[in-house]
Symmetry: C2
Subunit: 412 residues, 2 copies
């Protein structure tokens, strides 16, 4: 029998009524003949409440106890979902992480799933159970302690189960109805994508499209799990939402799949750095030691042994970055004339696997921005992505212009 | 090293502040050199909330899922208590039922503890852990499912741990400061007892003094666990509260230890029952089948083959009892002229192991009630208890009169 994994996030199980609605979706899939594994989050707000209690009790908490406390919200929804399904005459039972077992590393608070032996759940399916409701976000360490996977970890739980049970698909039910070409709040022409490649989704997820946890997309890509994002608040057909899949499964697509943005960026430039071998390592080593997430890096051509070094980081890490750089200067590790910080920038990116085979995407992008009079401050590129830093005030305009320029309002 | 068990009920861990206060009590005992096992309930109100959700989701719920959901509150307080103790530099960790493991029967919702292998916790004590914080109320079935012990089950958890670890004592911290000779709200002369025998506590507990769960007292009696009831809201000395112990450990005591009452009783009389062998079995079999908790039973002398049969039961079971008796009459199982129900009665009892060796307690009791003009409707006696049914309006008066008559305001 085919196994289907369905994951419901916190807003989708926030009340008993919503659990009921989610259970009806599960019933539809059971009626199609699937054996279903349902992964549930805690009711929206519950985990935050528990985290608050832990922080108040012990600011430098023992992560093992943090996990013991914060994992409890998922146990509640798993049991309630199983009960609701039983009320609908669907044989169901709940599973906590240690009961499956979801075997993880001992990295409490940010554990990695190592294995999910499918035998226990398969045995219950063989006995007639139709739905296994699994508490997401949690597992058990080799020492027998409860672990959690980090915030948003239930997506990862879902994908890991889909891989372990060779599921036909992993459906992620959330409060949006799919992945869009860009943020509909910024660009009214934004269009829901029917399909998107893993690599594109990874770039979009890490660029700030908060639909799926990055880790879960990586895992899905590695194990070729077909991942579907869809809304738990709408009636759904078989081809609803957005399918995140291998690029071979996408027949035809636009060169650019989507436009992403990140609002809270800062640009920092070290003016007239004394250029010598190892200087980049000295600068970015100091920033890494201070836990600054450096994103883009640009180094100008060196003239007379001096160069300008520009990088970007999140706005709220600017102070930390400035301190780290100044400290490195005081230690004599680096020399520069001035440090110029610009906290008024935003990053806009176009993403698409089509860029691999199509040339001229960067040129089209720059042309579209130039046509709107938007100055580009920094550029970086990867195989399937081009990102630019611009003045923040032009961000919405840039997103709209690029969406138009690459024809994203029309399907391929 | 000596093990001490300390149990904190829901009101004693209702907030982070109260958990802090409880942790300070634990620290005092650790400082005395004890290895401590702390049993915690869920924060007051949490379990009721979870039970409400289960009932709303599935009125005829699967007890296994009920247990999976309702056990989660204790996991939260166990983790928070462990964190709080760690903040006070006391090596502590939390244990959920399955981690210990607390092995129970599969009777979900009302499981019995079968064994608590002490090895895992002892090994951690040997490694330097000073406090094991155990989630009360829960265990694990032979099938690996989570079980709960029934409401108030954390008392039972505490006593079972005290027995398994051969603890020096089991301290039950609650919102009252001990066991009283009677309810202080009814009789202002009520006096806190320093000690009370297990047998007396059992009679008082089942008679409605809601200090300790009856099961936990039975268990303590069987394993000779010294049980102490004391307040978590007062500074405590070593001899605070009330010690529930073997009667040999009580040097001298009053003949009567306490006066108990039960307000919501009903008296039912079957008038002119056709008396024949097996008639009592026919009546009370029918009532048992209808889940009526029959308490007192009185049968008058039979005259000309007919008799009156009187029994008492909780007020809210009267309708069920009437239906059961009528149905038995319709089936022809019993014959009687009339069924008279009196829902305006209360039960008052005097309890004391001293009755075993002292005569005349019943006579003194009846005399004291007669002196106040209180008519006795039904009498039953056991080895250490005499109970009477009286009009409910005289209940407070009866309790006060008996408290005076047996000199309970003065220590032995």
């Amino acid at each position: 029998m085919s196994v289907l994994v369905m994951k419901f996030g916190g807003t989708s199980v926030a009340t008993l009524d919503r659990i009921h609605r989610a259970a009806k979706r599960v019933a539809v899939e059971v009626a199609k003949g699937h054996e279903v594994i349902v992964i549930v989050s805690a009711m929206a707000g519950k985990t935050n409440e528990l985290v608050g209690w832990v922080n108040e009790t012990s600011p430098m908490y023992d992560a093992r106890e943090y996990d013991a406390v914060t994992s409890s919200g998922e146990n509640v929804t798993a049991g309630l979902m199983a009960l609701r399904l039983q009320e609908m005459d669907i044989p169901a039972r709940s599973w906590q992480g240690w009961q499956v077992p979801v075997q993880t590393t001992s990295a409490h608070g940010a554990a990695r799933i190592e294995d999910i032996p499918p035998e226990n759940i398969r045995a219950k399916f063989a006995e007639g159970m139709k739905v296994a409701v699994v508490a997401g976000f949690q597992g058990v360490s080799p020492e027998g302690r409860i672990t959690t996977l980090g915030r948003g970890g239930s997506d990862t739980t879902a994908v890991a189960f889909a891989a372990a049970f060779d599921a036909v698909r992993c459906d992620i039910y959330t409060d949006v109805d799919g992945v869009y070409t860009t943020d509909p709040r910024i660009c009214e022409k934004a269009r829901k994508l029917d399909r998107i490649a893993f690599e594109e989704m990874l770039e979009l997820a890490s660029l700030g499209a908060k639909v799926l946890q990055t880790r879960s997309v990586e895992l899905a890509m590695r194990y070729k799990v077909k991942l579907r994002v869809l809304s738990s608040f709408e009636e759904q057909s078989d081809d609803a939402g957005t399918l995140v899949c291998d690029e071979e499964d996408i027949m035809e697509s636009n060169v650019v799949a989507g436009v992403a943005y990140s609002r809270d960026e800062a640009k920092m430039t070290l003016i007239s750095v004394a250029d010598r071998p190892g200087i980049a390592s000295a600068i970015f080593g100091a920033l890494a030691d201070a836990s600054v997430n450096v994103d883009m890096i640009v180094q100008n051509i060196s003239e007379e042994g001096r160069t300008d070094m520009t990088f970007s980081c999140p706005n709220d890490q600017v102070m930390r970055a400035e301190k780290a750089v100044e400290a490195a200067r005081e230690r004599g590790d680096i020399r520069f004339n001035d440090l110029v910080t610009d906290t008024g920038v935003a990053k806009v990116s176009v993403v698409g696997i089509g860029m691999r085979s199509h040339t001229g995407v960067a040129a089209d992008m720059f042309k579209a921005l130039a046509a709107e009079g938007i100055n580009i401050k920094v550029i970086t590129t990867s195989e399937i992505k081009i990102s630019v830093l611009i003045d923040r005030k032009y961000m919405e305009l840039a997103v709209q212009a690029l969406h138009d320029a690459f024809g994203l309002d029309k399907a391929a």
